[in-house]
């Protein structure tokens, strides 16, 4: 800048927090791998700036919309989320000057609400008994009625899987080459599994792509009929080799194991995903299994899940954990 003395440019410093998204570390699970000939690795996505994998897709969706000329600063962004995508958008939209509104089920943990408010997001709550389906339905309705909104819509936005195809998967391949027997991630929008799955299959067609799917508690299955069901448009189920249901209880037990046995302070979906990774590892004779740790444990601290047994915890089945 004119009049300012020339300073030494740092070699790796990012211009802002958005610039440090991605390039997350991977760590081996020495204690939870069921056999010596199979190595289990966790890709730690909580190293992203807001503590979750969703920073990658929020950045990709906003930058894609900017590149397409669909948004400019001042435009209101609207998104249905059960928390992490909203928080990622909160940070990015604040830095870039976009007002943010999120639609979220009323029964998520309180940390998510607080963080969203801190980033200046406005929250509209959807009916808790409808889980994430309710948030999607309400956000689509709001966006349809009011042209002031731009909705990235993570469930249907190709920038979501592309963020993984171009980011997460090449990072994993950089670590392990073609020697990846299985990749395990959680099934939410489908973006993580589709983007990583496509790239990892191109890298090695023998890599198994495994989805860990939340068994939503009955209290959040409040559909009036099956026609209220929802399949995210970006999901191509033919890319999956396995799709395994995990209960909230198993997710919580494994979240505790990750913390106490491996020192990984992760959220409940990561526990669920780790349980599936261990199951797949147990079925293999040898090879590397990579699973994705989607977020850290801070946003669940109020639930006491690391200091109580799963039987002592409240609202295990009525909370939207992921």
């Amino acid at each position: 800048m004119e009049g300012r003395p020339a300073l030494t440019q740092p070699r790796k410093c990012c211009p802002d927090m958005i610039g440090i998204i991605g390039s997350t570390p991977m760590v081996e699970l020495k204690h939870l791998s069921p056999k010596e000939s199979v190595r289990v690795f966790a890709k730690l996505e909580f190293y992203n700036p807001t503590g979750s994998v969703k920073d990658r897709i929020a950045k990709a969706m906003i930058e894609q919309a900017e590149a397409d000329g669909a948004i400019e600063p001042g435009q209101t962004i609207l998104e249905p989320t059960s928390g992490n995508t909203g928080i990622s958008l909160g940070m990015i939209c604040r830095l870039k000057g976009y007002p943010l509104e999120v639609v979220m089920p009323e029964n998520v943990t309180e940390e998510r609400t607080k963080l969203l408010h801190m980033y200046g997001a406005e929250i509209t709550y959807s009916e808790g008994s409808k889980g994430s389906n309710g948030a999607v339905e309400l956000a689509l309705e709001m966006a349809g009625k009011d042209p002031k909104y731009y909705m990235p819509y993570q469930y249907g936005n190709q920038a979501n899987p592309d963020a993984h195809y171009n980011g997460t998967a090449p990072e994993i391949i950089d670590e392990l080459g073609t020697d990846i027997a299985a990749f395990v991630a959680g099934l939410g929008t489908g973006g993580t599994l589709m983007g990583n799955g496509r790239r990892l299959k191109e890298n090695n067609p023998g890599t198994q792509i495994v989805a860990a799917e939340p068994l939503q508690g009955e209290d959040v299955q409040g559909l009036r009929s099956l026609e209220d069901g929802f399949i995210p448009p970006i999901i191509d189920i033919s890319l999956l080799d396995r799709k395994i249901l995990v209960s909230n209880r198993d997710g919580i037990v494994w979240t505790q194991k990750l913390f106490f046995e491996e020192g990984i302070f992760a959220g409940v979906s990561s526990g669920a995903i780790a349980s599936v990774a261990a199951r797949i590892a147990g079925e293999l004779d040898e090879g590397n299994v990579v699973f994705l740790v989607a977020d850290d444990g801070w946003k669940y601290l109020s639930t006491d899940l690391w200091i109580k047994s799963v039987d002592e915890l409240e609202n295990v089945d009525s909370t939207v954990w992921w």
Partner: protein, 95 residues
């Protein structure tokens, strides 16, 4: 006999039960047996062409049959068949 777990959205069609035991050696057999015992479930489970309805997910011992052999997926005595509506996941953790 396989144990079939019924989601809340289908319970009005099976006299309110949350679990039903039926015979069958494949997912198709089991679901057809269920539909025979409880006819109101038939059009909710199957499309007019006889396929599994789009918004119905079926799991045998926690694994989705759509990524296995669909209605041909084998069911052994004592297996648990779970029927669930397709739901939006969230966030990968919350989110």
């Amino acid at each position: 006999m396989a144990k079939v777990k019924i989601p809340p959205v289908l319970r009005p069609s099976v006299s309110g039960m949350s679990e039903v035991e039926v015979e069958g050696s494949s997912v198709g057999d089991v679901l057809h047996a269920l539909a025979e015992q409880h006819p109101e479930t038939k059009e909710q489970l199957f499309s007019a062409e006889g396929d599994l309805n789009k918004y119905v997910n079926v799991y045998v011992n926690d694994e989705d049959v759509r990524v296995q052999d669909g209605l041909e997926t084998g069911v052994a005595a004592g297996d648990t068949v779970v029927i669930l509506p397709a739901m939006a996941g969230g966030s990968s953790s919350p989110a």
